[in-house]
């Protein structure tokens, strides 16, 4: 993907983000933070590629660290968000 296409995505996604997030009510701001945290664990995509490649020991070590950190983010983030939201659901 060329740089301009990437930049286009980046800028448009920021506008989309602003539109979406301003509609989230203050009541849900903490779950929003933990949830968006889990989503930012998308780095796991890059982490998996680095951990599974055959480009040498250093890359795999960095990849392993990245997979561990990103997985904590993803699993911990989604689970704790779910735990909080379940408390808002019951009435």
């Amino acid at each position: 993907m060329d740089f301009v296409a990437q930049l286009t995505l980046f800028v448009l996604a920021i506008f989309l983000g602003v539109e979406l997030i301003t509609k989230v009510p203050p009541t849900l701001h903490t779950p929003l933070m933990s949830g968006s945290n889990a989503i930012s664990g998308i780095t796991v995509v890059g982490a998996l590629i680095a951990a599974g490649s055959d480009s040498g020991m250093l890359i795999n070590v960095l990849g392993f660290a990245a997979v561990v950190l990103a997985t904590i983010n993803v699993i911990g983030g989604f689970m704790v968000t779910n735990r909080m939201l379940a408390m808002f659901k019951r009435k």
Binding site: S40, A47, G52
Partner: protein, 460 residues
């Protein structure tokens, strides 16, 4: 197994859409659980599809990493107490930044960053990711009270930070000209890590909600930068969504605390203003009351607003408060909660703490909704909140908190403040609310006082 790159990219597009739908679900409490599950499904799609990538040849390291990370994440999510949620988020922010930093480093050593754009993106991911990592660890340590919450620093710290930042930019520029220079790369890593420490250490405990929100934003931007390095659209889109989210929450927190972002970041406190003498504010004007008297007042009330502060959560009094509210509702009294944006330790924290005690979320009103209703409120009960009810923010132009948005509890017919003593809050100011004609002080432990009022109300 070999799948064409186009199909992989389409799968990433699907997961990006699921993330957007997931966040959209979070705009209503009713759809929020489903939204979270949609986002998790999006992550699942992205992860599975990545495993088909042609560069992945071994799975041992991946499996080990996923098992270790998954276990740690699951245990953290199960064990964490709701009062400790800010620490948990701080830690997760740090891990997110750390992961992007590690991914960008791996790309650097693989030598895949060889054109100007991807080298700059690698440098940015390393810089922002490492700053997020160490900065979040400091925020975590402060919130967990592993280190002193007071601002820490040394003379010339800002100059050192400026040098570290400019040095990092120069380092990235050097890498553009001389790609693959490992010495420069490691210097960049070291500078970024120290910068993260030095940026958060001078920020006081009271400002941590802003810092967490900002680091949340950084972790998103770091992921986006990693996406530029790898040419991966899912990372770019998702990272910028998270980056925008963190920035919006940062600005909401700054407004609620009446601080500009620059002041928070550089540890500047508001001007001290004219000294206000506590004795002058309080002398002879403070009236104290008893639980029985409050219960009697509540019996004739039609509308009661409860104003919770973090003190209430620290005393684990949420359940006691909900019981009091239930008792009042059973007696036909309308009960609502007034939630100031900084009532907890992070955006929306107080709402979660009350939801945990099974307070229905539609009774939780934010500042803009509840403020016009105080004039029709018979009794406002302030529990463990102080600065956010201080009328000086509205009336006293010389006051350091002048302009801070507050809950106008003093407009209620009667205000009951449950508090141990007349001591000042974070802002270190006396609160003229305590001395108003319509204010009654109920001195004592918050939880005990609430239980006493409930008992008296049930008996009465």
């Amino acid at each position: 197994m070999h799948v064409s790159q186009n199909w992989i990219d389409i799968a990433y597009l699907i997961s990006a859409c699921l993330f957007v739908l997931g966040i959209k679900g979070l705009t209503k409490p009713k759809t929020a659980v489903r939204g979270n599950l949609l986002a998790a499904a999006g992550m699942g799609v992205a992860a599975v599809v990545t495993l088909l990538n042609e560069h992945i040849v071994t799975y041992e390291v991946i499996i080990a990493g996923v098992v270790v990370g998954g276990l740690i994440g699951a245990i953290m999510a199960k064990k964490v107490q709701m009062t400790s949620m800010p620490q948990m988020i701080a830690l997760l922010n740090g891990f997110g930044g750390g992961a992007s930093f590690a991914v960008a480093s791996a790309e650097f050593f693989r030598g895949s960053a060889n054109d100007t754009v991807s080298i700059i993106a690698t440098g940015a991911a390393v810089l922002i990711g490492a700053v997020t990592l160490t900065g979040s660890l400091v925020a975590f340590a402060k919130l967990q009270e592993l280190i002193d919450g007071k601002p820490m620093g040394f003379p010339g710290m800002k100059l050192v930070n400026a040098i570290l930042f400019i040095g990092s930019l120069v380092g990235i520029g050097y890498l553009v000209v001389n790609p693959g220079n490992e010495m420069v790369f490691w210097s960049l890593v070291a500078a970024a890590m120290v910068l993260g420490l030095f940026l958060v250490l001078p920020i006081g405990g009271a400002d941590m909600p802003v810092v967490i929100a900002l680091l949340n934003s950084y972790s998103g931007v770091a992921a986006s930068a990693a996406g530029f390095v790898m040419g991966n659209s899912a990372l770019i889109i998702t990272g910028s969504l998270v980056g925008a989210s963190g920035l919006i929450l940062t600005s909401i927190m700054c407004k609620a605390m009446n601080r500009s972002l620059t002041n928070v970041l550089f540890g500047v406190m508001a001007e001290a203003g004219d000294a206000v003498d506590e004795d002058e504010v309080y002398a002879g004007k403070v009236k104290s009351t008893s639980a029985d008297e409050v219960a009697m007042m509540l019996e004739t009330a039609r509308r009661v607003v409860i104003v919770p502060g973090f003190g209430l959560a620290m005393a684990q009094a949420q359940h006691a408060v909900r019981e009091l509210a239930d008792t009042m509702e059973a007696a036909g009294i309308e009960v609502e909660y007034a939630i100031h944006p900084v009532a907890g330790r992070m955006p929306g924290h107080m709402n979660v703490l009350l939801a945990e005690a099974e307070v229905p979320y539609d009774q939780l009103k934010d500042m803009d909704q509840i403020n016009p209703t105080f004039e029709q409120t018979d009794v406002a009960i302030v529990l463990g909140a102080n600065d956010v009810t201080n009328p000086m923010a509205r009336e006293d132009k010389g006051s350091p908190i002048y302009g801070m948005p507050i809950l106008n509890v003093d407009k209620a017919k009667t205000v009951v403040v449950v508090k141990r003593s007349l001591s000042a809050g974070f802002a270190g100011l006396p609160n003229p609310l305590f001395a108003k004609d319509n204010t009654l002080m109920l001195f004592g432990d918050g939880k005990g006082a609430v239980l006493d009022i409930t008992t008296a109300l049930k008996e009465g």
